[in-house]
Structures are given as structure tokens and as C-alpha cells.
């Protein structure tokens, strides 16, 4: 059962990733793309967690944590870039 | 708010507590060694970063805090279902709107928490805060009644926050 | 799986080198970044692929080769340092020369040449 659940979940997350990429491709605006990218970060966390569950290891927890922390900074930086051009002013 | 706080060993006791908790969470342990190490970090990190903090009003009423947190969590769960159905449904059914919510609450941290709460809960995103910090602009995914929404936000989230921060 | 992996490395290499061959510093930097991804994946591959084999003692049954991982780590850090330098150099080049062409000057009449060659190509 767990395996099936993981399989279904993985498939869903993978499809989500494709959807995100699709949005990055079609845009149409930069905020759209950044939003899609941010979502992709989140979905990667999901993927890693699923991966961790599937292989019952906690080794990848930090990777997920890092994506959560750093993905935010990256997204914020891109927004700041669009708003002000200069990231650090 | 204190301008220029004097040096203290525990500039932000709540923060320190939070950090210790996080440390123990991170390490998934209650081992004494980690308690010591965690306490050490929980004291030194705020000391190191105290200069980097704009002073903010402090927390009061811990029970209100807990109640608020759980209320928001509950709202998030409910909201997510609503939003999920909205997304899965046809776009035509959506009724998006911009709403301006007048703010009574003051100071940056409380406003930030309020705005975050609004964003986290169903169907609303805090899009912008007016320069004088008196208005919160919210984008609503599916607006049914504007006034009701404003009232709900103010009573459900702003009021408890004002209590917590006593402002 | 190995074939897919190798294919990805090949594609990244191609994209990286193609961009490195462009004439603008920023594009070249992007190309170098892609290239460094390719390089890191390639170097990593020298230890072969293994699933569920993190080289942390006690955490896996069979371990993947830790040495290439350490090498890739070093390579990533060095690559980062180099990328940082070349990015700032690109800025400096723009500041000093007024444009961001790798040669410090935009080739003469690119549009004329372009249209001519396009015509030929078309």
C-alpha cells in the first residue's frame, strides 16, 4: 500500500514539475516564471521527501531543508531584481 | 520599543527558546550533550545577531499565541481544500477581486504576521501594504462579500494579534 | 539509466560549449555555468552510478564511490570561485569598455553582415 501511495505521489509530483516547467516556458511575464520556479523548488522538496520515504533514509532531509531556505532567498532576489534592478543597494 | 537596547545576555529570550527547540528538532534528540550545545547556540546566536534586529514589540499572552497558531493552522487546512476545488473547477466560476483592508494594528512585526496569516489562509494573498501602513491590499481568488471578508480578517486575525503585541 | 545520465551530460556539454562560443560576456558566463554542471556530473560519473548508496558509514548497504564525490565538491567550489570572478570581470569589462562584448568592441556592422548571410542561408 505504502509503495503504491509513494508511486502515485511520485507520479503526481513529477507531473507537477512538468507543469511548472511549462509555466516557466510560456510565462508570459517574468513574475509568472519566477512563481513557477519557486513552485518547482517546493515540488523538489516534495520529491526529496518522497524519495526519503521510499528509501527510508533521513540523509536527504537537509537537502530539503536547504531548498526551503535557499529557494526562498533566490525567489526573493529575483523579485527584488525586477522591482529595483539592484539587489543590494 | 526600546531604542538602542543595552547589552544583555539574553537579548531575545523567546528567540533563544525557539532556537533551542529548533536545535533539538534538527538533531531529533533530547540528549544532554545536545541540550548543552543547543543552549550555548541559543544564547550566542541571538547575541551575535542582536545588532541585526530592528527592535520590535515583544510578545504577550502566550496562550493567545498558541490559540492563534492553531486557529491559523486549522484555517490553512480548510482553505486548502476550498482553493483546491476552486482550482479544479472551471475558471469561469472564479470571482477574483482586489480588496483594501484598513489596518488598526501598528508596527512592522505585527503587520507582517497579519499579512502572512492572510496570505496563508484560503483564497487571499497580501499583495501590498500602503506606505503609511494603514492599508493592506489583498487579492482574493473568489470574493463573495467584500465587507464580510474585511470583517472576518479583522476579527479573526487582527484582533488576537493586537492582543498579543498589546498595540 | 546510465544512458540517460550520459545523454544529459552530453546535452549539458553541448549547451555549455555553444554558449561559451557566443560573443557576450554574460552569455559566456551562463555557458560556463552549464559547462560546470556537465563537468561535475561527468566527474561524478567516474565513480559510477549507485542508488541508495550514500557514502555515510552505517547508512547504506553498499556504498557509492566517495572519492569522485569529494573531487566534485572541490570542483564545485573552485568552479564557483571562478564563476564569481568572471561575472565581476564581465561587469568590469562593461564598465571599462562600454559594452559587454568579449572582445571589448562590438564587431562592425553586424546587422549588415547578418542580413546578408541570412539571405544566403534563406
Amino acid at each position: 500500500m505504502l509503495k503504491t501511495a509513494i508511486l502515485i505521489a511520485t507520479v503526481l509530483v513529477c507531473i507537477s514539475m512538468f507543469l511548472n516547467l511549462w509555466r516557466v516556458f510560456i510565462g508570459p511575464s517574468r513574475p509568472d516564471r519566477i512563481l513557477a520556479l519557486d513552485t518547482m523548488y517546493i515540488n523538489s522538496i516534495a520529491l526529496i521527501i518522497l524519495f526519503g520515504i521510499a528509501s527510508s533514509t533521513t540523509l536527504y532531509f537537509e537537502a530539503a531543508l536547504l531548498i526551503a531556505m535557499l529557494g526562498f532567498v533566490s525567489t526573493a532576489a529575483m523579485c527584488k531584481y525586477i522591482l529595483r534592478g539592484d539587489l543590494i543597494e | 520599543m526600546r531604542a538602542n537596547p543595552r547589552f544583555r545576555w539574553l537579548p531575545m529570550p523567546l528567540h533563544s527558546l525557539l532556537l533551542l527547540t529548533v536545535w533539538l528538532l534538527l538533531n531529533n534528540t533530547m540528549a544532554p550533550g545536545h541540550l548543552v550545545l543547543g543552549s550555548f547556540l541559543a544564547i550566542t546566536i541571538p547575541l551575535l545577531t542582536s545588532g541585526m534586529q530592528n527592535p520590535q514589540p515583544s510578545f504577550h499572552k502566550p496562550f493567545t499565541i498558541i490559540r492563534y497558531v492553531f486557529m491559523v493552522l486549522g484555517d490553512i487546512v480548510v482553505a486548502n481544500f476550498e482553493v483546491a476545488f476552486l482550482i479544479l473547477g472551471p475558471n469561469k466560476k472564479l470571482n477574483p477581486a482586489f480588496v483594501a483592508i484598513p489596518l488598526e494594528i501598528e508596527f512592522e512585526l505585527p503587520i507582517t504576521i497579519l499579512a502572512s496569516t492572510v496570505s496563508l489562509t484560503p483564497g487571499t494573498v497580501s499583495a501590498e501594504i500602503s506606505e503609511d501602513k494603514k492599508w493592506l491590499y489583498v487579492h482574493v481568488l473568489n470574493l463573495t462579500d467584500k465587507d464580510e471578508l474585511i470583517a472576518q480578517i479583522k476579527s479573526r486575525y487582527e484582533r488576537p494579534l493586537m492582543e498579543i503585541f498589546q498595540c | 539509466m546510465e544512458a540517460i545520465y550520459a545523454f544529459c551530460v552530453g546535452i549539458l556539454t553541448t549547451c555549455g560549449f555553444f554558449l561559451v562560443l557566443r560573443g557576450r560576456t554574460f552569455t559566456v558566463v551562463i555557458g560556463l555555468t552549464l559547462l560546470s554542471y556537465a563537468v561535475n556530473l561527468f566527474l561524478f560519473a567516474s565513480g559510477r552510478l549507485k542508488l541508495d548508496g550514500a557514502a555515510v558509514l552505517g547508512q547504506s548497504v553498499e556504498y557509492s564511490d566517495p572519492l569522485p564525490q569529494a573531487l566534485v565538491l572541490t570542483a564545485i567550489v573552485i568552479g564557483f570561485a571562478m564563476t564569481a570572478f568572471v561575472v565581476i570581470l564581465a561587469m568590469r569589462s562593461r564598465a571599462d569598455q562600454g559594452n559587454d562584448h568579449v572582445d571589448g568592441q562590438i564587431p562592425e556592422q553586424p546587422s549588415a553582415r547578418l542580413s546578408a548571410s541570412d539571405k544566403r542561408a534563406g
Partner: protein
């Protein structure tokens, strides 16, 4: 593993994945940027929450002691997601992105953009 626990975990996993999926679906499907903003920022919080709770439960169950460190990821996401949304909304306002036709009070976006009072 006990059946109930396995069931719980499985349900959580699938539910989480569904929310993640719905969020991304919204990202593709919804009509304008502002509505699209709702999908991921919300659905993913709960989606991730479910997945992390599932993981937590699993690890706790396997190791025999309480594993809570996944909570941290949720904590981070809860803190950061609104800010991400806010920043993105700001950029959208700044770029005067198209707003879906039937949005109420479209004019407010102009005030919001300049951070004026309505």
C-alpha cells in the same frame, strides 16, 4: 508496520501529492497572474505539510523515537511562503500585469502599486 499507520502514511502521502499537484495545476490553469499566485503558495503549504507529517510518522515509527525535524521544513515554508507571494505580487503590480477581466476593483491595483491609500 501496523496497517493503520501504513494507511495513515499512505493517505497523507497521496493527499500531500494531490495538493502539490493541484497547486501546480493552478499555476498552469488559472487565468491571470494574481489568481495563479494562489495556487502554489497555498496548496503547496498543505501539500508539503502532509508529506512531511507522513515522513515524520514513518521515521518515528521505524526508529521508535519521535522524529520531528521535518517540522522545521514546514516552519520555514510557512514563514517564507507569504513573503514570496507578497514579493511576487509586488513585482506583478510593478509590471502592471494583465488582470483578469472580471476582477473586482481592478482600479485598486493602481493604488496598491503606488502604495497609496485607496
Amino acid at each position: 508496520m501496523e496497517f493503520w499507520i501504513e494507511l495513515l502514511i499512505s493517505v497523507l502521502i497521496v493527499a500531500g501529492a494531490v495538493f502539490v499537484f493541484v497547486g501546480s495545476l493552478g499555476l498552469v490553469k488559472l487565468p491571470d497572474f494574481y489568481t495563479r499566485l494562489h495556487g502554489p503558495t497555498k496548496a503547496t503549504t498543505l501539500g508539503m505539510g502532509c508529506l512531511l507529517v507522513a515522513s515524520m510518522t514513518l521515521v518515528t515509527n521505524q526508529n521508535g523515537f519521535l522524529s520531528l525535524h521535518e517540522l522545521l521544513i514546514t516552519l520555514f515554508l510557512l514563514i517564507t511562503a507569504p513573503v514570496t507571494a507578497h514579493m511576487l505580487a509586488k513585482t506583478a503590480l510593478h509590471h502592471k500585469l494583465d488582470i483578469a477581466e472580471k476582477t473586482h476593483d481592478k482600479a485598486l491595483s493602481k493604488q496598491a502599486r503606488k502604495r497609496l491609500n485607496p
